[in-house]
Symmetry: C2
């Protein structure tokens, strides 16, 4: 045999990372493998399936244990803290590959409720909480990635301020909009977690939650 499905998926991820989602064509993936475009259809029924497999690899491992985010480890985590870490890990994983958030968000919309991360989150914060956290995380990551891309294009035209190691504004907030989006993510996450905590106190358990 010459190429396996795993070869095709990882070649596709390489093409994605170098050319972005709109540059990630079946023909380019085939070229990356030195193969005719039609050969891909031996491994995958269509492009959409390939994108779903790519999404799985991108988020692989997120949501298992406290994976991805270090910090106050040592057991005794509350569900809220676990959920928080999972969302942070999820965002990092998506941001690690070009247009990763788009790929993952689109694939996730198809099998809502069926993904491994969503099910783990649901154990901690309930089904509604899990969905709310995921929608927010996807949207915020997509937005971050869009602005990073715009910034990387804008940098070639209008550097705006000379130095690379840019200072914070006088209010202590980062003036770089992409750093601002990183900080903003955690604040939005905390808003949702606070809401879930109130709900938890009021009802004694998260809606549809399994933990008690």
């Amino acid at each position: 045999m010459r190429n396996t499905l795993a070869d095709v998926v990882s070649a596709a991820l390489r093409v994605l990372d170098e050319n972005g989602l709109e540059g990630c064509s079946m023909r380019r993936v085939a070229a990356e493998l030195d193969v005719q475009p039609s050969a891909l259809y031996h491994h995958v029924p269509n492009k959409q399936s390939l994108l779903a497999l790519m999404a799985d690899v991108i988020v692989d491992g997120v949501g298992e244990r406290d994976a991805g985010v270090p910090g106050e480890n040592g057991g005794g985590h509350s569900g809220m803290a676990l959920a928080r870490n999972a969302c942070l890990a999820m965002r990092s994983a998506m941001l690690a590959v070009r247009d990763g958030a788009d790929v993952v968000a689109t694939a996730a919309a198809f099998r809502l409720g069926a993904s491994a991360v969503e099910q783990r989150l649901a154990e901690w914060v309930g089904a509604d909480g899990a969905r709310t956290l995921l929608f927010y995380t996807f949207g915020q990551a997509q937005s971050t990635q869009t602005h990073r891309h715009a910034a990387s294009l804008g940098a070639l035209i209008g550097p705006e301020s000379g130095r690379a190691g840019q200072r914070s504004g006088t209010n202590g907030a980062p003036s770089d909009p992409v750093l601002e989006l990183d900080a903003s993510f955690e604040r939005g996450l905390d808003i949702i977690l606070t809401g879930l905590e109130s709900e938890h106190r009021a009802t004694g358990a998260p809606t549809n939650g399994i933990l008690h």
Copy 2:
């Protein structure tokens, strides 16, 4: 003159609603206007700009006053209630046209902080609250639309249960997954609004909020 920019945008919205986002090509929009594809480039620099204009029309009017959602009217709305209504109206507007959520979400990512709806929301619940609500609303609407589409395809293959007017499950929750998504939206919205309320009580004002 033969066609105006508004003609192009509304023709594009018609094509979108009938063929979906992936069937909404420049060539089809041109055909809808009985014009050569190249003629469109007199009105619009590229497809992306056209999609942005379409997004503006789709959400046009949302976020003004209590528009879109009736109910306990008569003044005296809190910022939370106003924000809630705006999100409901936003979702309805996006769901009203095929793939509307995708079109609006993509366009919104480009000008984060600049949209009219986001600015109104920010007055009521602060900048972080506005972003959190919008990301959630976009993601939830995209998911709803994906499942509606899947359901409309699945209905042709496996009706699953015979009757059209399907009953609710024994737990009182709708068994139809797309009705479930409608109900789930409000629950997630309330989680976020509860979080914003706690924050408001703790700090005396929403983060970056203008109202006090």
